[in-house]
């Protein structure tokens, strides 16, 4: 896909996420919107190394995993209608993705653990494993236990993606409890690390098309939580709030159309 086509696809993905989230009122809409561009690039841009038929993408910040559902419908993993049945007894799509959903892996919902699991499936495997981590998830100590292990074993088939949207539930990470300097931390743990604009398809393409021969890789994506819906963008209160007001829903849909 061209950059323009990727942008159109991303908008469509965001709109569908917005629709099934506001319809159901369930989950973490803002956390999904920040990661959409990276996911669209990985799944739809042939220039990136990720091959969804062979590689595995695991959400460690699984509350953001519904962002992948519209992408998986476009790729034929399940019917588009499943989006309408999100989190209903009739549907297969859950708030946290898991391996019962076609195209998804492992379980979701416990932060800090899926990276360690991912290392277990990646060890000497003939496929690549991508792990999406939230920035506030990095407070979990188990993450750093796993980083040491992955780097020690030089798991070049592992690629960590940190959704650096700057916000936890209670506010900005740097005001609540500093996690910077992140890039230096990952580098000191043995990861080949880049920090890029998580909403710039050219930068994303450039980053995800490189090989991992330099060691296990970490990409820190500078993102905006709630990306695409102006009144949600970078607002920490929207971590757990899904718009209910009709006018706000209308505005959100218009901005994503």
């Amino acid at each position: 896909m061209t950059t323009q086509e990727l942008e159109i696809k991303a908008k469509s993905v965001r709109k569908r996420i917005f629709d099934f989230k506001t319809r159901s009122g369930v989950g973490h809409l803002a956390s999904c919107l920040s990661i959409v561009d990276a996911l669209v690039s990985l799944y739809h841009d042939d220039n990136t190394r990720f091959n969804h038929k062979k590689d595995k993408l695991i959400f460690s910040k699984a509350h953001g995993s519904p962002a992948v559902y519209p992408i998986l419908t476009d790729l034929g993993y399940f019917d588009e209608d499943e989006l309408n049945k999100y989190c209903t007894p009739e549907g297969i799509l859950r708030l946290h993705s898991d391996s019962t959903i076609p195209g998804c892996h492992f379980v979701g919902g416990s932060l800090g653990n899926n990276i360690g699991y991912a290392s277990g499936i990646a060890y000497k495997a003939n496929f690549n494993v991508y792990v999406i981590l939230g920035d506030a998830e990095l407070y979990e100590g188990a993450v750093w236990e796993s980083l040491m292990f992955i780097a020690h074993h030089k798991m070049n088939n592992m690629h960590l993606i940190v959704d650096r949207n700057q916000l936890g539930i209670l506010g900005k990470t740097e005001e609540l409890l500093k996690i910077e300097p992140l890039k230096e931390k990952f580098e000191s743990f043995g990861f080949y690390t880049n920090q890029i604009d998580g909403h710039n398809f050219n930068e994303i393409k450039n980053e995800f098309s490189q090989d991992n021969s330099g060691g296990p890789k970490c990409t820190i994506l500078n993102t905006v939580k709630g990306k695409g819906v102006s009144y949600m963008e970078d607002k920490w209160r929207y971590h757990t709030i899904i718009p209910k007001d009709e006018n706000l829903i209308k505005q959100g849909r218009e901005e994503l159309s």
């Binding site: 898991d98 379980v107 360690g116 499936i121 188990a142 236990e145 796993s146």
Partner: protein, 321 residues
């Protein structure tokens, strides 16, 4: 008396030599048998360092890849990675075996941090886990084939030193009693000494030794009872439980755990759920952490689990009409 961890790892090592899928992960725990493993099978050995959470998460991933995974850690630290055992293994259905070394007061006098006296309670609360307390090394060795043949999430509660009174049991030709399946690895209940039907004394692990000694005192004073090894802390067949213990007047449990949700609680649930409804006495450790110096035996003696105290409680309960 060879430590249970040694015989298990040694027997597993023999299997691992011919099965590349068997992997052992140590959270910075050592054993003599492990030295040989590390030297001869380095591709099938991992250490995570002192990082139990990552050990379990990595193990879960390896299990998902079809590996037969064993995680060796100190029993007390299973609490530290309980979330990973539940989430990455139980919820996600990744069968691994945890080799938990040093249960109960086995690490005395290291203090309460090293002595898991509630682990049966918190481990058995996890869905679809199997918890095994082998009474001696004979039994431990025979678990290797059983575990390899039946993949499942398991918590293996290993004694640093098992009760010397249990030394002669579970030899390879040991078949228990006529009315029991000669295949010991099938039911979780095994008769140890059948001397009478006034009460059945139920225990596991190290406390079986003290239970047998208490039973002898009871016998000397004219109270005839029987001792059973209940080596599974979950998944006991309810019909077998009913059939086995229906002949007894009363039930008594003896455990090296606090009484909240532990071994005795499990028996109480079985007693109720099976409608057996026998009078039941639970004997165990007090609901507190033990900050005392002394050996395991000393701490058991000073915390209500001396042979004499067990005997007295049993005698009072059995003879109280």
């Amino acid at each position: 008396m060879t430590a249970q961890r040694e015989v298990f790892i040694q027997a597993l090592f023999e299997k691992a030599k011919n099965d590349k899928d068997i992997v052992l992960i140590s959270a910075d725990m050592g054993a003599g048998a492990l030295d040989k493993w590390r030297e001869e099978l380095p591709e099938q050995f991992f250490t995570t360092g002192i990082a139990e959470q990552n050990a379990i998460n990595f193990a879960a991933g390896q299990a998902a890849q079809g590996k037969k995974v064993f995680v060796f850690l100190m029993a007390c630290w299973a609490a530290r990675c309980l979330e990973q055992i539940r989430y990455s293994c139980a919820v996600a259905n990744n069968p691994i075996t945890i080799l938990a070394n040093g249960i109960g007061l086995g690490y005395a006098p290291s203090g309460p941090a090293h002595c898991p006296t509630e682990d049966i309670a918190y481990m058995r609360s996890i869905n679809n886990i199997e918890i095994i307390t082998p009474a001696n090394s004979n039994f431990t060795m025979q678990l290797v084939d059983y575990i390899l043949d039946n993949p499942k999430l398991r918590h293996l509660r290993l004694e640093r030193n098992y009760a010397k009174e249990m030394e002669s049991y579970y030899a390879e030709d040991w078949s228990g009693y006529d009315n029991f399946d000669s295949n010991i690895i099938s039911q979780g209940i095994n008769p140890i000494k059948l001397n009478g039907e006034k009460a059945a004394l139920l225990s596991c692990g190290y406390m079986l030794g003290r239970t047998i000694n208490s039973q002898e005192q009871l016998l000397a004073s004219g109270t005839e009872t029987s001792v059973y090894d209940i080596w599974q802390a979950k998944n006991i067949d309810i019909k077998l439980f009913y059939k086995t213990f229906n002949i007894y007047e009363k039930l008594i449990t003896v455990e090296e755990q606090s009484l909240s949700g532990g071994f005795g609680s499990m028996i109480s649930e079985l007693n109720s759920d099976s409608r057996l409804n026998k009078p039941l006495l639970r004997i165990g450790l007090p609901d507190k952490y033990i900050f005392e110096n002394g050996s395991r035996d000393h701490l058991l003696d000073t915390n209500g689990l001396s042979v004499n105290n067990i005997y007295k409680q049993c005698a009072r309960f059995v003879n109280n009409k």
